[in-house]
């Protein structure tokens, strides 16, 4: 899909994406010659068609997560389908290592953990990894609710 500015005969370039949360999407494209902007508005079915491809208009802010499409699209996902690899008890019977906190690098505060626990378990591991990767990239040592909000805003996460 491309948008052509007819006045300039120039391809318009992606500028901004907005997801209002009602299943629709707005993608803004701008002509680099005359600065004219236009917004492409998609209805829920059209938005779903794009997301069914596992792609995001304007590119991805976070890397593709394993089985992201299945996890974010399936209705009635099994609560305990996925177990974070660090939560799997070790065969030797040792206590499981719980993520980065055990390594002394990134700590989740109890408030942040509580908020994470409100995320459906079907996608919780994926969401936890996204926040942890964001913290590592930003040099943030402690994940708090405020940092989670910051990450959401920066990464454009919806519903996480």
């Amino acid at each position: 899909m491309k948008f052509l500015c007819l006045d300039c005969d120039t391809v318009m370039e992606f500028a901004e994406r907005q997801i209002p949360g009602d299943g629709t999407l707005a993608a803004v494209f701008k002509c680099r010659s005359c600065d004219r902007e236009m917004a492409m508005l998609t209805n829920p079915m059209e938005t779903q068609l794009v997301s069914s491809m596992g792609v995001k208009i304007g590119g991805r802010e976070v890397p593709t997560q394993p089985m992201e499409l299945a996890r974010t699209s399936l209705e009635g996902g099994r609560n305990d389908a996925f177990v974070l690899s660090e939560d799997i008890p070790l065969a030797s019977g040792e206590s499981p290592i719980r993520g980065e906190a055990a390594a002394g690098r990134i700590v989740w505060t109890s408030e942040a953990t509580g908020r994470l626990e409100r995320v459906p378990s079907f996608v919780r591991g994926m969401v936890k990894r996204i926040y942890t990767d964001w913290a590592r990239e930003k040099g943030v040592s402690e994940i708090t609710p405020e940092n989670m909000d910051r990450a959401r805003a920066e990464l454009g996460l919806e519903g996480m």
């Binding site: 007819l6 992606f14 068609l49 089985m67 299945a70 699209s73 009635g76």
Partner: protein, 295 residues
């Protein structure tokens, strides 16, 4: 009328990143399957011919040959492979690099939609919107199948069996994702109706780049357990006719045995519970053929 440049005329990209993301998906899948020696589809086009039970038994038979075997249940709407291999309650280890498959008691690495659904009797349903599913559902399910193949940490495998649901469109879906399919085993029965339907799949497989295509005739005969008399379950000779007409060989004629289905129902394939049964022996011989033809 003014001349507007066409999409093909306009070579400059828009920065929407869609094409790049689709290419990334293809690379991700190819990278994952790079450690898999052969992808082998068990398909038909026709429903109810025993694809899943054959896949489960074949997986274990290949494992018994010393091969590392994975099995992907491409039947998202009617998953059964996990159950047939005895791993329906599996939990999947979630790693940054991928999801670890379930492992059956016999050692087959398995992925199935069954592992992801909360309720046993829940039909497969996707989130919003409720309307217009015919527009996006096939795209979404192809994407989920891509994740089953590409986001699962299969590791080093000799064979990845893919249990393909009924419908030639589902075969096409797999071929779109894995154009370099090594083998396609098309399951039919001696019935004329099955021959009619499966012939379409034969044509599709031959027109694609599948390296080896073979037929499996299931429920080919029935032996009376009381007197040993062998009788035909179907009056036709569909598999043989299909072989003759298409040149695609029949690699196995699996006799009907009620224990075949009962064993997979219980989660332990017949090749384990009764390896000497005629059906099991036929599956082992089929495994030999599959192994001989691996790339």
């Amino acid at each position: 009328m003014r001349k507007i440049r066409t999409y093909q005329d306009v070579t400059h990209e828009t920065g929407s990143g869609l094409l790049e993301q689709v290419v990334d998906q293809q690379h991700r899948l190819a990278d994952r399957l790079a450690t898999v020696r052969s992808v082998v589809a068990v398909a038909s086009g026709k429903g109810g011919v025993g694809k899943s039970a054959i896949t489960a038994n074949l997986a274990v038979a290949l494992l018994a040959r010393g091969l590392a075997v994975g099995a992907a249940d491409a039947d998202l709407n009617g998953p059964s492979l996990g159950r047939m291999l005895g791993v329906s309650e599996a939990r999947l280890a979630d790693r940054p690099t991928g999801v670890e498959p379930a492992q059956s008691p016999s050692g087959v690495r398995v992925i199935s939609m069954e592992f992801l659904q909360q309720e046993e009797d829940a039909p497969l349903r996707w989130r919003e919107p409720g309307m217009g599913g015919f527009i996006w559902q096939s795209t979404l399910e192809t994407g989920v199948l891509r994740e089953f193949l590409g986001d699962v940490e299969w590791g080093e495998l000799d064979v990845l069996l893919v249990d393909v649901p009924p419908g030639t469109d589902k075969i096409k879906r797999l071929l779109d994702l894995v154009p370099e399919l090594d083998q396609m085993l098309l399951v039919t029965t001696p019935s004329e109706v099955a021959r009619f339907v499966v012939s379409k799949s034969v044509r599709m497989a031959r027109e694609a780049t599948v390296k080896t295509v073979a037929l499996i005739s299931n429920m080919a005969s029935h032996t009376c357990p009381e007197c040993g008399h062998v009788s035909e379950l179907f009056t036709g000779d569909g598999a043989k006719r299909l072989e003759k007409a298409s040149g695609v060989p029949v690699w196995a004629e699996i006799p009907f045995d009620p224990r075949f289905g009962a064993a997979t129902d219980s989660g332990t394939p017949l090749v384990i519970t009764d390896p000497d049964a005629r059906s099991s022996q036929t599956i082992f011989a089929l495994a030999d053929r599959v192994e001989e033809h691996l790339s």
